[in-house]
């Protein structure tokens, strides 16, 4: 390959990284909930992409990168935590005292989201990343669109119930 071709290819790859690294980070963060791990996942994903050369043939960049980032993050999560059925991640403290001392409702509700079952939390978390649609979430997670919609609905319902309980508890104090 000629020198100018290499330079041109590298420039295009750099532009891709500049455009989407933040988005990719947020996809990874939705799953991993840890800044360092998510950054590592971003690096790993772009490195794999560069090696494979697939990035030259991407049609829908966002969708492709979201799926790739999700897979890398999922692999990292499996390495980090032993897979057990029904294991909810992350196990943030969910006792009334902790929730009461949360800076505000937003923080308290975020802790409640962290404590949702993973199959409900993941689509909910992805729905907050640049407002991904149910179809896009379904593609990223490799699920049927209907399944994603149902899970999103259940997640919101469960979250609403928990917030109501928290509000009642707070008002009694």
């Amino acid at each position: 390959m000629r020198q100018d071709e290499v330079a041109e290819r590298d420039a295009r790859f750099s532009a891709l990284v500049e455009r989407h690294s933040r988005f990719v980070f947020r996809i990874a963060y939705a799953l991993l909930r840890n800044t360092h791990d998510s950054e590592d996942a971003v690096q790993e994903m772009f490195l794999k992409l560069y090696r494979s050369g697939d990035w030259n043939r991407i049609e829908d960049e966002k969708s492709f990168l979201a799926r790739a980032a999700w897979r890398v993050a999922l692999t990292r999560l499996r390495k980090r935590v032993p897979q057990e059925p029904g294991l909810d991640l992350p196990s943030a403290a969910l006792n009334p005292e902790d929730l009461a001392i949360a800076a505000d409702w937003s923080e308290a509700i975020q802790r409640l989201i962290d404590c949702l079952p993973e199959d409900l939390r993941r689509p909910l978390a992805l729905s907050t990343v640049e407002e991904l649609s149910s179809r896009e979430i379904a593609r990223v997670m490799g699920l049927a669109e209907g399944t994603v919609r149902t899970r999103l609905m259940r997640a919101r319902q469960l979250l609403r119930e928990k917030v109501i309980s928290l509000k009642v508890m707070y008002e009694k104090r």
């Binding site: 800044t35 690096q43 409702w105 937003s106 923080e107 308290a108 917030v163 509000k167």
Partner: protein, 160 residues
């Protein structure tokens, strides 16, 4: 806790929008690109090393194939049919004339063939036939005589 008078739906929406608002540390793009460039620099070197390694393995395999002594064939299993080893007649002076047999034939008895087994059974059951065969005398063929068939009338049954 602040905002405790806000409607629940709005609280949830605000929390959800904050939930994904995590930011990477500064310079993530640059770190990604640096790592990719470092990898790109390594790649040709790695490719060259792989090529050299594969070539070395091929040369070693070829050398072994050409120079290694031939491995003797394993003995056939005991229940296998015996392999017929050709017996070569060599024209020599009478006193020196002998059957040339292979090394294996000399040292290991080969199992009997089917014909030899059949002959052995025949010898055990009818030695006359075997003698006749071994003497090389023509066996006289006698005419077959069948005596006249006589049927006796049935004896009448007695009633009780």
């Amino acid at each position: 806790m602040r905002s405790d008078k806000e409607p629940i739906e709005r609280l949830i929406e605000r929390a959800l929008s904050d939930y994904s608002n995590a930011e990477p540390r500064l310079g993530l793009e640059q770190r990604v690109l640096n790592r990719v460039r470092a990898e790109a620099r390594k790649s040709p070197l790695r490719l060259g090393m792989k090529t050299v390694a594969i070539a070395a393995v091929c040369i070693a395999a070829l050398t072994v194939a050409l120079w290694a002594p031939r491995v003797a064939h394993p003995d056939p299993p005991a229940n296998a049919l015996p392999v017929k080893t050709p017996v070569i007649e060599v024209s020599m002076p009478m006193e020196a004339k002998r059957t040339v047999v292979t090394k294996r034939q000399r040292h290991r008895p080969t199992p009997l063939t089917q014909q030899e087994n059949a002959l052995l059974i025949l010898a055990q059951h009818s030695p006359k036939v075997l003698n006749a065969l071994s003497d090389d005398k023509p066996v006289a063929i006698q005419p077959i005589e069948i005596s006249a068939l006589k049927l006796q009338p049935l004896a009448p049954e007695t009633e009780e």
